[in-house]
Symmetry: D2
Subunit: 140 residues, 4 copies
């Protein structure tokens, strides 16, 4: 199984008064990396109302904070597909330093593919499934 | 068991291109309400390095998105203490409309009380425990 | 001439590592207060693509930072219309403490009323002009 | 005179309901590029309380929005020093597409070098002046 990894910047405005990356910013770092992954697969921007084949809603976010990210700099975000269902998907995330093999945080996001008009769950297309397969732990 | 509830604004800059509250903003709405709760208890600001008795790190966030929050306006955030341990604490959150009894989202945050210098877990003081008791589901 | 004033919260996540309100957040505090003003006038949300009579683009922002806002708490934002032109508008802002007559910051925002489809400048309607008149320094 | 230029990402969460880059985010794109410039000069992070030789406060921001930035993607931020005074500095910014010679926005930030303890204006050191000289339009 493959993973997708991208470096992301941590900026002054991302830090909180404790001089560490604010806990809400992790959601953005994960989402931005997922957007880049989506683009790399040729699926267009992460979330666009004119791409019905990949339109989805966020169903769940979870993050475990293992060690604070201190000061500005760069981090790596790694992701893969933990599980793909009929119309849902769970993405696993890791937040890592650029130069060591420890973990700052682990996350998970569940999304549901829906029809842009009715917002009712839709089956992922075979094309999307095929694109995601190499990055997927389990299908069911 | 009591809960704490506060209205929070949803602003233009909180909305995403789908015209709904961006999923990362829920973390901020929850955190801000927790800050107000902390203040109401007389514990000072939610997180201040000069208040060693309440200094803590975020250990985990989780959010289930049940129904999108559409457009600008006001929402209610309700919280209570789900469980207080020796040096940890889990807060439960609900995001609610101001005028109906449905749920936009459910969340949970785990924090760990640490020593501001060493960052090692610290026992919550009896004072903090006593203040939180009326809002607490379970202690253990 | 009247002004419009509203209290706004300053939250933990608004603070930067210097423990002061981050300079970019002033733009949001001003915009949110402008949104509330717009609502109070009955003009609907500050910016909504389905309200063609008030649809506009931001042409300019400027802010002078006079004294840092330290820590979490509440501030007042005061605004009035500095000048209304045929299709443009300049709003003046002041950021103030809740309990003293000093100024944290002065700002100004210029907006241009445009057609939502063509994005070409549109004349403000007489209705909008009449609503804004009591808050306006100069028209021309 | 030289300029410094860096590509910056525009992400889903940077877009507003009009599907354009939110006006407040320009301040962050400019600040982040200034931070990278500071690092490239060897001045350390843009703003760090333990680097007294570069410690400063933001005195003024201004931005003219010339054309909306639509959708996610990448932009270029260009900056140079417009003027350096005894203890102040004005940075000029341009926001540009990655592939055309038009301007999305022009900005300017004035900062004042201060003593981290007293917050009173300090003379820029000769070292900082020398580092900035190649990027500076006017000194005085």
């Amino acid at each position: 199984m493959r993973f997708f990894e991208q470096a992301q910047g941590v900026y002054f405005d991302d830090l909180d008064p404790l001089h560490i990356l604010h806990n809400a910013r992790y959601v953005l770092l994960f989402e931005r990396t997922l957007g880049a992954f989506w683009m790399e697969l040729g699926l267009g921007p992460f979330q666009a109302s004119d791409r019905p084949e990949q339109f989805h809603l966020v169903a769940r976010n979870e993050i475990d904070y293992l060690a604070p990210v201190r000061g500005v700099g760069r981090v790596r975000v790694r992701l893969w597909i933990e599980r793909i269902g009929t119309s849902s998907l769970t993405v696993a995330f890791r937040l890592l330093p650029t130069d060591r093999d420890v973990e700052y945080a682990r996350g998970r996001r569940a999304i549901v593919h829906v029809d842009p008009q009715t917002l009712r769950p839709q089956r992922w297309s075979d094309d999307v499934r095929a694109l995601l397969a190499p990055y997927t732990e389990a299908a069911g």
